[in-house]
Amino acid sequence: METDQVFFTDYSGRNPLLDQMPSYQASLNRGMTAKWRGTRRGRFSSSDSQKGAESSFRRNEAAEEMELLPIYALVQPMAEKRREKRRRLGKGQDLSRWEYWKGNYVFRQMRENAKVLQNHLQLWKKDIRLIEGMFGTGILSYFYFLRFLVMLNLAIFLLMFAFVMLPMIIVPHTSANVTWSQSGGGNCSSYKIGNPRALPNFHEQITDLLSGEGFMERTYLFYGFYNMDKIHFPHFTYNLSLAYLLTTVAYLLFSLIWIVKRSATGFKRSLVQNEDCFQSFCNKIFAGWDFCITNKTTAKLKKSIMLNELRIDLEEERVRQKIAERSRTERLRIYFIRFVLNVFVIGVLAACFYSIYLATSLSQDAEMNKKKVNFLMDLITEYLPSIVITLANFITPVLFSFIINFEDYSPSFEIRFTLMRCVFMRLTSIGVLLLSLWRKITRCDDAFCECGYNPDLYSCWESRVGQEMYKLTIFDFIIIAAVTIFVEFPRKFLVKYCNCQLIKFWGDQEFSIPQNVLQIVYGQTICWIGTFYCPLLPAICTIKYFLMFYIKKTSLLHNCRPSVRPFRASRSTFFFLVVLLIGLILASLPVVISVAQINSSKACGPFMNYTTSWEVLPIAVSQLPDGVQRFLSFLSSETFAASFFVVTFLAMFYVIALARGYKKVISQLREQLTMEGRDRQFLIQRLVIAQRRSKFNPKPPGRSSRSPRSPSYHTSFAYNHPEAMRLADSPPPSSTQV
């Protein structure tokens, strides 16, 4: 192309003209902050002095901006920063700036000490570093997520312990009076617990431990044990039932706030940025290699992952073109296949949900009849819902990832769609379990339940629900440990030592991040639902996740190979938190419904005096002073709620409009940037052509120029780069076509 020859005008291939441009000079200095670079372009157009004056002018501008920043934030190499520090110290700036800098310094020391302390207290630092060096940051996000859940569960447990358990524990040791919660008597208030056995045998104790019945039911573990209503200390009255209810609301809100806070950064980024496929190649080449990798095999693995990624991307380009070129009949055929397969998926889901419902009913009936067949059968009937859910959650992902191959989507959409289906499956199965439990609890022999629930079968229904959640948690943990020990280890040995072709093809277990994340989100959803019925469940979950870290780490390091399909760190954290949020919302539904709608048990628990658990709040509010009551009733009135919603909607629309405006500005600026670059190319071309013409028709330097800016260029150009002018004497033949 002719323009290329205009550019490379000296021997080394560098264009001396472009070297003189202020933007290039600035990039050489690298002494400016990014913010300042924008203003400098404006300055350039207004000045027409010589190069030396320009640069000193620029340096003054830069110096002013640099004064205001602390040294470590300057974008400069180390030597420059030390010089800057010495200069600042030596200058003895005016008091206001010095004070600011000094205050900053002291504050920074404090922050540093806090950081050092925080680093010491961080859990699992060494393990995480090992995993990072071996597998990169994609898998690391899973372990960060696990650590976050350990912290979250610990916090929830501390909440419950401090406000609900602690008062009950310390009451016998203090001289406080207790108002026990009692109902008025009647059919609903007889607590039928299993016959206390005179000599419990070992098997039955194990069954009780694993299912939460028998001796476990009358402990702090379950809702039924907390039967104190108010505790009268010498100076104040502690309303335990109110505390129980408010702590439930508090832990749900607390989890919500923490998760939203953590996902805020990821959300911001994905809202502002365009689709990933917009810049996919650049992202992979320049931001793809994990600089943290220190292990040789991992480096090799990472290189093959890179290779695969690039090949997949090139493939995706081809597929996209293919989709765009699809003919009408082909499109109809694809839509028909998709419709059929979606119906099939719905059918599979319905079948799973129905089997969960059957299993729950069967399990509950068997418990009611109390037919003790033998130890193993009892355990299986107890755990039947958990077994069915786990089986369904194991089979469905395999099925979904098989059928999506026929639906002919682009590779990235395939992954996302399969994941969505699996999320839906996992979280709805818990919902179906609870629904079937609810149906059994509120169904009585005659049409109308006089207690609001079935007192013969479920004298203390909250404890029963708590037991189901407890069983689900325990079973989940047992399955994870068992799969690691009994499936992955033998598989690894088989692959290593057995030379069978089929086994070699099967290969090592793949550590699939999405499935593992769904597993822990499922466990956490159960924990959120179950904490109301089983206050010790967060503690159990904390221990469970703590042990799970080590199990998964062993699994990763010894049994599995990391998945060849890459999972990006930035998007994965956001994805995990979104799924967790969905789990939280789904978990709060059953809790809210059972607190507000279903009558609380009259035979056990802190809410025996009240119809529903929620009722304790209005009663407590009615005992507050009049003014507060009126204020609270105003807050819960329709007028306030309506105006609050209106204000929130307005704020939301404003923010959305703002975001849209910013997006537009960004794309306009980008276009402007592109245009400026093209303008610059165009002007330089013109300039060089003009110079060449003036070389052939010699005229005094000042008058040969066409553009007002050229004198400075012309003289400095000719002065600094005579070899360039020499080359211009013998122009390449194609340039005569100007």
Partner: protein
């Protein structure tokens, strides 16, 4: 803090704290690492600012850098002479820029320097080809390499000169979500 260390004076440690993203303890630890690379060359006493530079070959052997395909370029970009001989200041500077808390602009500048193999302040097609080959252990076919380089320049080039200047690169990096988390070395 009352630690009786004799490697640096207090002013020196303060200066390091201000100019980098490390705490005092980390700087002393870095000095330990620097020293163990060449115990006979590196003095334990830095109070009078000795002029000691370690060659590229020693630094590139560190476990944090050994498996990095760009290790030579990283060390060269932080050395003043461009040949990869690092003094302790430059050593600390390197790990400070690559630490977790360094800002994006600073990292982008050095990333550009690292990927610019022929040091002409542009990322031209040859630079990209070299980068790609190091990332994929040269297993892509030449047509694939060509295609990928073309697409990369297409995506990021704003001024249409078929190579990436620093402003193109910076603009592209500001929209790369993974850059901050991958461009970091833990020491």
């Amino acid at each position: 803090m009352g630690n009786k260390q004799t490697i640096f004076t207090d002013e020196q440690l303060d200066a390091y704290q201000d100019c980098t993203f490390f705490t005092r303890k980390e700087i002393l630890r870095l000095h330990g690492r620097y020293h163990e690379l060449a115990p006979h060359l590196v003095p334990m006493d830095y109070t009078n600012e000795p002029d000691c530079k370690l060659p590229l070959a020693l630094i590139v052997d560190m476990p944090e850098l050994k498996e990095n395909p760009f290790r030579n370029r990283i060390v060269e970009s932080f050395s003043e002479d461009g040949m990869g001989n690092l003094s302790f200041n430059e050593f600390v500077d390197m790990f400070s820029v690559l630490s977790e808390t360094a800002p994006r602009e600073l990292k982008a500048i050095y990333a550009f320097k690292i990927y610019d193999f022929n040091v002409d302040n542009y990322l031209c097609k040859e630079d990209l080809e070299k980068t790609l080959n190091r990332l994929t252990k040269e297993e892509l076919t030449p047509e694939e390499v060509d295609l990928v380089c073309e697409k990369t320049i297409d995506e990021a080039d704003l001024d249409g000169d078929n190579k990436l200047s620093y402003s193109d690169f910076e603009n592209m990096i500001s929209r790369a979500p993974d850059f901050l988390s991958t461009f970091h070395i833990r020491i």
